[in-house]
């Protein structure tokens, strides 16, 4: 099978992509104004990190990297459950998801 | 085999399978109408063609020709995307289903499976889980409270039962030690029906859970709450008409077929002969190619029959009953099944 995919891509490209995703996530965290999208930006960051792990796993032939990603997914799922529950609680208490209006306590 | 050949062959397989699948969908609809008719002591469609066999074609034509209404309040991009997503996901998963015996075909080519993936089962689960979006987005983008409620119900239902569904398959995977569907089937091939996971594999509990979850996953009666006409005037596809409605319709039946395929592969021995080697094996290439296909289709067909039978028999659940059933009964049961299976495997 692998003969079909003979052309190779340097791993650094993957890493750059991962860095880009991570940075875009950070940017999203900073500019997004809705709690849910802010949270999504964090997920984007995690995905960027995951790509790094998988790439490095390939680099070192170390399956640990892939397992790490597996765990990150599980954690992300747990985080999503809790985070969205919190978001729902916020919405119930404040009837808004706008970051700028969650400001009872000034940051 | 060059890369070009590989491409062409793959394209051919995809085309054939898609056509067969769509035909299957169409005739499943007919099958259902006929069967439900019989169950209710009437004939069902019988005017178009002999025994109404051409009815699906007419239905299709009707869908195409109807006026395509897009209500003004909808969120257009997603409204248009949703049916495509739904149908697409329903069709894709067939791509990893092996529906015939392996190693038949020129060279390394596998004629009866589009792609043999090591994690085939996971692919099916993954694609199915994406399918939720079609329904969710449809309901949401319709900008209609019935649609939204239907979509919310549906996505909650799908997410909930997907867990039970996935867990019910773990026992099978434990037995096979692989996620490759071909491996799973081969493992049940030794003694015909006796070595099926359903019987010899002691996975009847899992099969039961799978069955229940499958009904819920495909929004079929008795779990067809998302489109409960009496409450939701049609649920998530209330605002859809013509071809787009047909796509949802086809997606539902496509999912049924996929689910039937998976049940066949995982519990009913896939394409293998239920009687094992009782009648000996033939060396004729045609026999070797077509008999498995026959068995496979037969098994899927029986599964579909079961679907319709249940629909014709059981009333609809209430929503909280549905959720309670999924979380409080099926899930723990599935987990127990996993524990029991692993213990059994460990101490066998």
């Amino acid at each position: 099978m692998s003969s079909y995919f003979a052309q190779e891509v340097p791993l650094s490209w993957y890493l750059l992509l991962s860095a880009a995703l991570f940075s875009l996530g950070v940017v999203g965290f900073l500019i997004k104004r809705n709690l849910i999208t802010v949270f999504m930006s964090i997920e984007l960051m995690l995905n960027g990190v995951n790509l790094s792990f998988v790439t490095f796993a390939q680099q070192w032939h170390a399956v640990k990297g892939q397992i790490f990603v597996f765990f990150v997914m599980m954690v992300a799922a747990a985080e999503a459950a809790v985070g969205l529950a919190i978001i729902i609680a916020v919405f119930r208490a404040r009837a808004t998801l706008a970051v700028d209006r969650i400001d009872l306590m000034k940051l | 085999m060059t890369i070009l050949q590989f491409f062409l062959w793959s394209l051919l397989k995809v085309a054939v399978v898609t056509v067969v699948m769509l035909l299957g969908v169409a005739y499943t609809v007919l099958l259902e109408r006929k069967l439900v008719g019989r169950i209710q002591n009437r004939w069902g469609p019988s005017r178009v063609g002999p025994f109404g066999l051409l009815q699906p074609l007419v239905d299709g034509a009707k869908s195409f020709l109807k006026e395509d209404i897009i209500p003004t309040g909808v969120y257009r991009p997603l409204y248009l995307l949703a049916p495509i997503l739904a149908l697409g996901c329903a069709l894709i998963s067939i791509g990893v289903v092996p529906f015939g015996a392996p190693n038949i075909g020129p060279g390394p080519l596998d004629l009866f499976e589009i792609a043999n993936v090591n994690v085939g089962l996971l692919v099916i689960l993954g694609v199915t889980s994406i399918g939720v979006y079609g329904i969710a987005l449809a309901g949401w983008s319709s900008n209609n409270k019935y649609s939204l409620l239907g979509a919310l119900r549906s996505s909650a239902q799908l997410v909930s039962y997907e867990l039970a569904l996935g867990l019910s398959l773990v026992g099978v995977v434990l037995r096979a030690g692989s996620l490759n569907l071909r491996v799973i089937v081969e493992q049940q091939a030794t003694n015909g029906m006796l070595s099926w996971n359903l019987f010899g594999g002691m996975q009847f509990v899992a099969f039961f859970i799978y069955l229940m979850a499958a009904y819920a996953e495909t929004n079929r009666s008795p779990f067809d709450l998302p489109e409960a006409e009496s409450e939701l005037t049609g649920g998530y596809h209330t605002e859809y008409s013509s071809m787009k409605f047909a796509m949802f319709f086809m997606a539902e039946y496509g999912n049924m077929i996929t689910v039937g395929c998976v049940a066949t592969l995982l519990f009913l021995g896939g394409w293998t002969n239920p009687f094992g080697n009782l009648f000996g094996t033939s060396n004729n290439i045609l026999v070797r190619a077509l008999f498995p296909l026959f068995w496979f289709v037969l098994k899927v067909f029986s599964f579909l029959f079961l679907y319709v039978w249940v629909r014709g028999t059981l009333p609809r659940f209430r929503y909280d009953q549905l959720m309670n059933y999924g979380w409080r009964w099926l899930m723990p049961l599935a987990i127990l099944n996993i524990v029991a299976t692993s213990l059994w495997l460990a101490y066998r």
């Binding site: 999203g28 599980m74 969205l84 998801l97 | 889980s129």
Partner: protein, 181 residues
């Protein structure tokens, strides 16, 4: 082939990520993120991590993002205001992001002996052993404790989600309905 696939799906990834930032409606952002995740799954496949590719689709796209869209739909939050963040975020955050990206990119580009990606049989050297077998072997021997501990994590998440999302004044009948949120 590998190159083309990489370029295509990397493009999807970046496009999705940027779209996530641009879109003002949460649901569009969520869909963009799903695009990113599914494209990443393909990239994982290219990197020989087939199990992860499947898990990515099932867990991320199929479960986590469903929850997201579900909540977006449930709360029907509407478009977000375009304030582009606070002044602090603009004046400190963006330079910081650029700096981080620049540093990491430089580091990566200067990193030595980075190999090339191959769709190998999942890092394994034993013939016939699949990626998933290798993965599970390591997972259940060397990394057993983290795996076991994850159950506590999941337990906490369930406990917490239920405690937070449940209406306090409803009857126990209705609670099951919300367990999945």
């Amino acid at each position: 082939m590998h190159l083309i696939l990489f370029l295509v799906f990397a493009g999807f990834c970046l496009g999705g990520a940027i779209n996530l930032l641009i879109q003002s409606h949460p649901i569009n952002s969520a869909l963009s993120l799903i695009v990113v995740m599914v494209s990443l799954a393909v990239l994982y496949l290219l990197l020989g991590a087939e199990f992860l590719a499947a898990a990515q689709v099932i867990v991320y796209a199929g479960a986590i993002m469903v929850l997201f869209t579900f909540v977006v739909m449930l709360l029907n939050a509407g478009r977000e205001a375009r304030t582009m963040g606070s002044r602090a975020a603009r004046s400190i955050g963006f330079p910081a992001v650029v700096a981080i990206l620049a540093v990491i990119a430089t580091v990566i580009l200067h990193a030595q002996s980075l190999g090339v990606a191959r769709l190998s049989d999942g890092l394994t050297n034993v013939p016939g052993q699949t990626n998933i077998e290798l993965l599970s072997t390591v997972l259940f021997t060397k990394l057993l404790l983290p795996f076991e501990v994850t159950s506590v994590l999941i337990l906490i998440a369930i406990l917490g989600a239920v405690a937070l999302a449940r209406h306090d004044d409803t009857d126990p009948q209705g609670s099951a309905e919300r367990t999945d949120k």
